[in-house]
């Protein structure tokens, strides 16, 4: 397995509080990796540190074997892009202007806008289905379209690795599937490495080749969803009792939580047995 990113004894924290402690983690190249875990477990923090948005307290993040702290930030931007959680575009910015910003790492005083830049921007708009909206203002778009516009910007950046921090938050189910399908296709067609944080365990199991479950400042388990997702893992990572079934459409693990609720037909309330 080739690796895209590796962390070495990585320790992360804010102020005095440690969030991730001495973590060694390898992210496979060309696959979709999803970080899962409870609120505040540090999955977003870990993702942000991989994109050099957060300086490690200790240890290092390696991109193609080189410590990102030592690489020029513009060089990193040509290899790795990040879509932060709920980004906001300045008022009045059009989709085209937004996507064009993705070419910033390739520009300097001497080299202004080139044909290659134009082509990458048009491809990104097309891949995300945003070509027809390119002259619309970002703040006029629906939630799903807006997120697609931002993904188009990260695509225009033309990087091997794409990091996304909860790309489906605040989207309805239709748009969640639409965004994840789009990312899945990108990975299929262009073998881009995609690393993201998702809240929905079932969607994570469907789209991820590789799942990293985070708990107690470190990785609790990692691997293929069908190999690692179990009632025991869910209990440990999310502190929740559940049963794991098979997704009737995809065959991927499907987590069904215990708890209270209505019963229809002759189903037994498992909660009573616990």
């Amino acid at each position: 397995m080739k690796e895209a990113i590796r962390t070495q004894a990585l320790t992360l924290g804010y102020g005095g509080a440690t969030i991730i402690h001495e973590l060694d983690l390898s992210i496979p190249k060309g696959e979709i990796t999803v970080f899962i875990g409870g609120n505040g477990c540090g999955k977003s923090t870990l993702l942000r540190s991989m994109a050099r948005l957060l300086k490690p307290t200790n240890g290092a993040v390696l991109l193609e074997g080189a410590a990102i702290a030592k690489l020029p930030t513009k060089e990193i931007a040509k290899k790795l892009s990040i879509l932060p959680q709920s980004p906001t575009a300045p008022e009045g910015l059009t989709v085209l202007q937004l996507v064009k910003q993705g070419r910033y790492p390739y520009q300097n005083w001497l080299k202004q806008w080139s044909e290659e830049d134009e082509e990458k921007v048009m491809n990104a708009l097309q891949a995300t289905g945003m070509s027809e909206f390119k002259d619309k203002q970002v703040d006029e778009l629906s939630g799903g379209q807006r997120q697609r516009a931002w993904i188009a910007m990260t695509l225009a950046q033309d990087t091997e690795v794409i990091l996304l921090d909860e790309p489906t938050t605040y989207l309805d189910l239709t748009h969640q599937i639409e965004i994840l399908d789009l990312l899945f296709e990108l990975n299929e067609k262009e073998q881009r490495t995609i690393i993201m944080v998702l809240h929905d365990l079932n969607l994570a199991c469907r789209y991820a080749h590789h799942i990293v479950a985070i708990r107690n400042q470190t990785v609790f388990a990692q691997g293929k969803p069908e190999q690692i997702i179990s009632p025991d893992l869910v209990k440990n990572v999310f502190d929740m009792e559940c049963q794991i079934a098979q997704d009737p459409l995809f065959g991927t693990p499907l987590c069904i939580p215990y708890g209270k609720g209505r019963r229809v037909g002759n189903k037994i309330a498992y909660v009573n047995a616990l």
Binding site: Y14, G15, R48, A51, R52, L53, P72, T73, K74, E75, I76, A77, K78, S81, I82, L83, P84, P87, T88, A89, P90, E91, G92, L93, Q97, L98, Q101, G102, Y104, P105, Q107, Q157
Partner: protein, 333 residues
């Protein structure tokens, strides 16, 4: 955004530039002493020591150039500060830079008995720089760095602190009040050309740097995380922007005293017309700022003729309703 295509944007800039030049001309020609365009032309080509020629050369010309330079600088500062802090109300007056300059001048008058406007220049420059750095450092403290909310709070707190010190000192020392009050009112009248020439190098560097940094301002406007992800050297860019702000705001307040509201209002008007791309926005806002201050200053001569209203009063008169409008709009979003 009204001017959408690049060609119409360029047209907009050219129109603004022509209007800017016309306003400079009008500022030289119009006033209590009757002069014509012809007299003004003669004052520069065949100077004859007449009263009109003296007024044009020694009073009206400096006044016009100062209004143009200060108006442009304040408007550009407003654009830079609003993008830097992501706060639609950011401007030199709201973030305490003018108050800092005011306090520095009052301190100098009270304790060092400074009396010349020339000396005011340097002292207020110093005060503006100190205030900007203080607000920046205070609001950068803490692990989440410089946030729009923190910089606004720090700015408001520092502005209130500086203003109350200023008031306190002025109350205790009424003797030297008059000279300071004249400066504190904010005006482009009665300022000599030498004052402008003294700060012109700083303003010039500020203008050029503001236009050169425009592409980076576009990236900065997308938010810190996105900007960092795109490879912008955030820390360095922010420091450079603060330095440009000190040069432009400090230079302006040094020459004309604290003139409010241009830094808030013009960036919004300019964005409405030409859009958010800083490569167009910064020069365009500069021209509009110059036009507004020149026009306000011409108006100031006619309202209670033969006496004059301080131009700061006129800009406040235009600015206050706009401020309320922007604040309401900002909170709605």
């Amino acid at each position: 955004m009204i001017l959408i295509k690049n060609s119409t944007k360029l047209f907009g800039i050219i129109v603004a530039l022509l209007l800017f030049l016309v306003c400079i001309g009008m500022s030289i020609v119009f006033g209590y002493t009757n002069t014509s365009i012809h007299t003004a032309y003669e004052a520069f080509t065949q100077f004859n020591n007449s009263n009109e020629h003296l007024i044009i050369q020694n009073v009206r010309l400096p006044r016009a150039l100062i209004a143009a330079a200060v108006g442009a600088s304040l408007a550009m500062t407003g654009v830079l500060m609003q993008t830097l802090t992501k706060n639609p109300l950011a401007s030199p007056d709201i973030l305490g830079i003018n108050a800092g300059a005011g306090l520095a001048v009052v301190l100098a008058v009270t304790f060092m008995h400074t009396a010349s406007l020339q000396a005011f220049t340097w002292i207020s420059f110093l005060g503006a720089g100190f205030a900007a750095i203080a607000v920046y450092v205070i609001s950068s403290a803490g692990h989440d760095g410089l946030t729009p909310l923190k910089i606004t709070l720090a700015g408001a707190a520092m502005a209130a602190l500086f203003a109350s010190f200023t008031q306190g000192i002025l109350t205790a020392n009424e003797a030297e009040l008059e000279q300071v009050l004249f400066w504190l009112a904010g005006s482009v009248q009665g300022r000599k050309l030498e004052l402008l020439i003294a700060v012109l190098p700083y303003l010039l560097i500020g203008w050029i740097a503001a236009i050169m940094i425009a592409p980076k301002m576009n990236v900065l406007a997308m938010g810190d995380d996105v900007a960092k992800g795109l490879g912008l050297k955030l820390g360095i860019v922010k420091i450079v922007v603060v330095v440009i702000v000190i040069l432009l705001a400090g230079g302006s307040v040094a020459v004309a005293g604290p003139i409010g509201f241009i830094g808030i209002v013009i960036p919004h008007v300019a964005r409405k017309l030409i859009g958010t791309d800083h490569r167009w926005l910064i020069p365009f806002a500069g021209l509009l700022g110059g036009i507004l201050l020149l026009a306000a200053d011409i108006g100031a001569r006619y309202i209670i003729m033969p006496r004059e209203v301080p131009v700061g009063v006129i800009t406040a008169f235009i600015g206050t309703p706009s401020f309320v409008y922007i604040a309401r709009k900002g909170f709605r979003n």
